[in-house]
């Protein structure tokens, strides 16, 4: 796989010229998805065709008659983005092979297909189509931007919502306080399809993220990238603390950074540093306290929820270390 090292200055110059996503989209101020989109485009090795599942990104970037996209872009529905990606890639392959557009200066057929879905479109309603595409080995880069709830419809819980979090369908009630289940282990599910490449990324660690995205583009087959994405609206964080929270998620091992190449788990960047030096692992409370969705957990009578969250993080961390052979 690639040994390409992204250089921030080169990336900036590339964006000056191509601007895959324009300003003027209507994602919330401080939305993490806006950063992920840019980083995906920065990592591209070829022109890209971009498929997006229904969700915040789709809605906010294409409010008719406006579009923020300077790359070819299509949205069909919520649960089928991966299937659409498969269709585009099949067409591309066939048309490329047939040389039908050879010599036509107006058509480009040497491109990569990237599919972007939110947690709802990936963990829940879109899981079947992704599984189908991965089983078939269709060459798409699927990026999950995980802001841990259905934000587009106004913050409802998804299979990606963490334990304890307040959403409008897991309210902090008198009896039940927030979500009572844990997050679905989505990367493991994707890795179980024996895809060549899967990884977790955080935009805060841009170098790590862009290298992994590039590997995803270069994979000989389907690739899955799980991108952690702060949502100021749904998480109740300061818009300016988007990157800070993403960093804390990694530093507390709530969202560890790793990649899985042909089934081999490998920790990367700051997560690898924590594995080598466990003292660096911060308590989850530092991450929780910056977000209104977890505020109730910090009250004395709900302290057990923080402990339970921490236990889950520790257990998952131990599992991950084992998978990575550490």
């Amino acid at each position: 796989m690639s040994t390409w090292k992204p250089d921030i200055k080169e990336l900036a110059r590339k964006e000056l010229k191509t601007r895959p996503i324009e300003s003027g989209h209507r994602l919330c101020a401080g939305c993490g998805a806006g950063i992920i989109i840019r980083q995906i485009a920065m990592a591209a090795r070829k022109p890209i065709v971009w498929i997006t599942a229904t969700g915040c990104v789709e809605v906010a970037t294409t409010i008719f008659p406006y579009t923020s996209w300077n790359v070819p872009w299509a949205h069909n529905a919520f649960e089928n983005a991966a299937a659409v990606g498969s269709g585009v890639e099949a067409a591309r392959k066939k048309l490329y092979r047939s040389k039908r557009f050879q010599g036509d200066p107006d058509v480009e057929l040497d491109y990569d297909v990237v599919v972007l879905g939110g947690d709802g479109g990936t963990y829940d309603i879109g899981l079947q189509a992704i599984s189908g595409a991965f089983e078939r080995g269709d060459k798409i880069l699927y990026v999950l931007y995980d802001n841990e709830a259905y934000m587009n419809t106004g913050i409802q819980r998804s299979g990606g919502t963490p334990f304890g979090a307040r959403t409008t369908t897991t309210p902090v009630g008198r009896v039940i306080k927030g979500k009572i289940q844990f997050k679905k282990p989505i990367v493991d599910i994707m890795v179980a399809h024996r895809i060549p490449y899967a990884a977790t990324i955080s935009s805060a660690y841009w170098n790590d993220a862009i290298v992994k995205l590039r590997k995803g583009f270069e994979a000989e087959g389907p690739a899955f990238i799980h991108a952690f994405s702060t949502c100021p609206l749904g998480w109740g964080n300061e818009t300016s603390e988007t990157i800070k929270i993403m960093k804390l998620a990694v530093e507390t091992c709530v969202f560890p950074l790793y990649e899985v190449e042909n089934g081999q788990y490998k920790l990367t960047g700051p997560t690898l540093a924590i594995a080598k030096n466990p003292d660096r692992k911060k308590p989850v409370e530092e991450y929780l306290k910056l977000q209104a969705r977890f505020r109730h957990m910090l009250r004395p009578e709900n302290k057990w929820m923080v402990e339970k969250f921490q236990e889950w993080v520790d257990r998952e961390w131990e599992l991950l270390l084992k998978k990575a052979g550490l």
Binding site: R26, L27, C28, A29, V59, A60, I63, N152, T153, G154, P232, L233, T239
Partner: protein
Amino acid sequence: MKWGDVPLIEIRWHGRGGQGVWSGSAVLAYAAIKAGKYAQSFPQFGPERLGGPVTAFNRIDDEPIVERGPIYEPDIVIVIDPSLVKPRYVSSLIEGLKPGGKLLVNSEGDPSSIRSQLSIPDEFEVWSVDATTIALEEIGRASPNTTMLGLLLAATNLLPIEYLEEGIRWRWSGDVAQKNINALKRAMKEASVDRAKEVIRA
């Protein structure tokens, strides 16, 4: 304008997502209902986004309300986002505003200079208050909806303030509610007006 003479009061709010346009109109409707009137509050639905333009509506009447749908000819327009107080937006802000109607804006500027800058016709009353600064100082967030309710009370004798306080306590709790009430009261004091000129109608 004396409210008793007008059977149905229609209010249109203009703002942006995250500033609490819908919440502001909901608090007003709640207060009106508590005060024994009939009322409606509803938003114009777009995607929920912090910062996107949002419109909300209120109808308040002594009789049950049968009207539905957006308000095309409001008695009062409340503009809670100062960035909308610009010449390019004026036509949509005052669109359909009834002669003698009130334009309530969140702005640092005083009403007469707003009128001249935006070329607002003489037949409308212009009220202003620096609601964003008040909200930042009193509440700690740039959500000037309750502050603008203070301007509304200054501009009209629509409802006794107690009902609005009750509405604010219904929507927010404890300390946050009190801060919003403080902002509302401060806006009532700091409000200023440029009255409508006498308009002779044919």
